[in-house]
């Protein structure tokens, strides 16, 4: 396999909460790789650390209260992002790694035209003149499929719809042709038809520009449609990672299993699932007090005493190449327990 573009090892991002709430271990030992040109889906429910992971990569965590623990390692194109000087880091942000935020309504500066904002990265990184940058902005608007780009470039964000603004955000992120695009819930705030358009757009741009995309979402449908590989996060950890097809065909972590069962399907008869949509019992625990042992065990239908005391490491699944499909679950060592339960 080729060298990974982004290599994250044992990333720990903690937040010190005020008023004696303790330390929130929002991201607690996350490891994954992103390879050039691929789409990696990062899935999990709210509060599992997806966004903190992505912000940690660009070191956009507000410090304090947050800090990335020593021992964490984030390597991009052979350089450890965690030890870079602020200036070197800024040369990477928006240039080699770009980011799209969740809320297109609030992620654009209300007092500047969209053209100014799209051009910003080109002005910062490529030292383009204002004129040249404006021409690039028009080009980018055309690329992301906004009609009348010549006119739209001078519009203010409030003159645009949510879908259009998300296109503007994408144009803003891609103007310097980054190697890696981090898209944090890029479609969550949009309605379904616009969602599909934006995902299609991202897909097309990824092919045209040959960049890798890290797609963060809580929507398994989005992942199934666009990702090559999936990383499932729970309680600040990666609980399972696998190629998309394999994950959907053979989910091994009980949490992944539960997530997949919770998605309403068109091809299953209602009677087969006894009329009710599956849900995972309980709630995500607070990040200041993760459960001992396996963090999922209080909600896990298979849990036994070992799960409550010993934390499982990421285990390779039998029958797949080491490192391609890993699962943090003791069931892998005692598969007969799954059978018994079923």
């Amino acid at each position: 396999m080729t060298e990974p573009l982004l290599h994250v090892r044992d990333l720990k991002t903690y937040f010190v909460t005020e008023h004696g709430g303790g330390t929130a271990r929002a991201v607690d030992g996350v490891s994954f790789d992103v390879y050039p040109g691929e789409t990696l889906g990062l899935v999990g429910e709210s509060g599992c650390g997806k966004t903190v992971t992505s912000l940690s990569i660009l070191r956009l965590i507000p410090e304090p209260p947050g800090h990335i623990r020593p021992g964490s390692f984030i390597e991009f194109e052979g350089r450890n992002l965690l030890t870079l000087a602020p200036k070197e880091l800024r040369a990477i942000r928006g240039n080699r790694i770009a980011m799209i935020f969740q809320e297109p309504m609030t992620s654009l500066n209300p007092v500047f035209t969209v053209g100014d904002q799209i051009a910003e990265a080109a002005i910062v990184h490529q030292r383009l003149s204002r004129r040249a940058a404006r021409a690039r902005a028009v080009e980018m608007l055309t690329l992301v499929g906004i009609p009348d780009p010549q006119e739209r470039v001078d519009h203010y964000p409030h003159q645009m719809s949510g879908g259009m603004r998300q296109r503007v955000m994408i144009a803003m992120a891609l103007i310097c042709r980054p190697q890696l695009l981090i898209a944090d819930e890029p479609t969550t705030a949009l309605d379904v038809t616009i969602q599909a358009q934006i995902l299609e757009l991202l897909d097309r741009l990824q092919r045209e520009l040959g960049m890798a995309v890290m797609l963060i979402t809580h929507d398994l449908g989005v992942v199934a449609g666009s990702a090559d590989r999936v990383v499932v996060m729970y309680a600040g950890q990666v609980v399972e990672q696998a190629p998309t097809r394999e994950l959907f065909a053979r989910p091994l972590h009980p949490y992944t299993e539960g997530l997949l069962a919770s998605v309403p399907r068109l091809d299953t008869r209602v009677s087969q699932v006894r009329g009710r949509l599956h849900s995972i019992p309980g709630q995500v625990p607070a990040a200041t007090a993760w459960p001992a042992g396996c963090r999922f065990h209080p909600r896990c239908p298979y849990a036994w005493d070992r799960c409550a005391t010993e934390e499982p490491p990421p285990l390779d699944t039998p029958g797949s190449e080491p490192g391609t499909h890993t699962v943090r679950c003791w069931l892998l060592t005692e598969p007969q327990r799954r059978e018994r339960r079923a």
């Binding site: 956009l60 602020p86 942000r93 609030t106 007092v111 990265a121």
Partner: protein, 308 residues
Amino acid sequence: MTVWTWLALAGAVALALVAAAEARRYAAARAAGRRFLRHPTASLGVFILAFFVTLALAAPLVAPYDPTWQLDPVHLQNQPPSLRFLLGTDVYSRDVWSRLVYGARLSLGIGTIAMLVAVTVGAGVGAVAGYFSHWLDAVLMRGVDVGLAVPRIFVLLMAVALWERLPLGALVLLIGFTGWFVTSRLVRAEVLSLREREFVAAARAVGAGPTRVIFRHVLPNAAAPIIVSAALGIGNVILLEAGLSFLGIGVPSPLPSWGSMIHDGWQWIVAAPWTSGFPGLAIAFVVMALNAVGDGLRDALDPRKEGT
């Protein structure tokens, strides 16, 4: 007064009316502008300001005499208002109207320049304190606390005592540099909330450095409180200058500022009330107008009132 000065005065009034009407028309076309116009006194304030600014700019045309020229120290002392001397003459036989007009230049000029200094420093310090937070914030804000705790007039008196004859430029700078504390607090509060906004994170994600983020993304969004505090600040500075000049330590005689005019006339306040009265009225009108406009702007630029 000659025909020409009357014509010029009429012209100034007409110009001020046109300016106020233009401002109204401009404002009526916008939601924020309509909130501004809902203040009954705001338009009047705009007119008064426009009038005095025109007077100040057109001073040589509207003033019939040189403001420092003693016309006839024997026969023309403390003359009451008349057609020849529109607002009378003072004890040194100088034309009060001419001095008032030239005084507008000084008083408004000092107010504007000192306010610009104060707002620039205040916005800069406030933005840096709010954006970087923690120790830098703590240091700067404790400095501001000290600045707010020391009476301003005391600092100015001390400066005057040290320098004996303070040049006008130094006085203006001093007023500016002692007047930014409140603005910096306002701006800091605004920046504290702005820096948590997503578009600031987005700007940082694009690779913008702290200077660029502060000056291009944060401060323009804090424009509203800055503008309002500037409008209210000019009035404060004019009052302060008047007070200093009244104490005899502000604008050096015989330069006409409104404060020094009151100073020149106060001993004859009973015999010749016009010598101190008219500059006093001018100060009152301008400061009230600035406050009315400031209040109007505060409501107009408050995003929480959007859509009403």
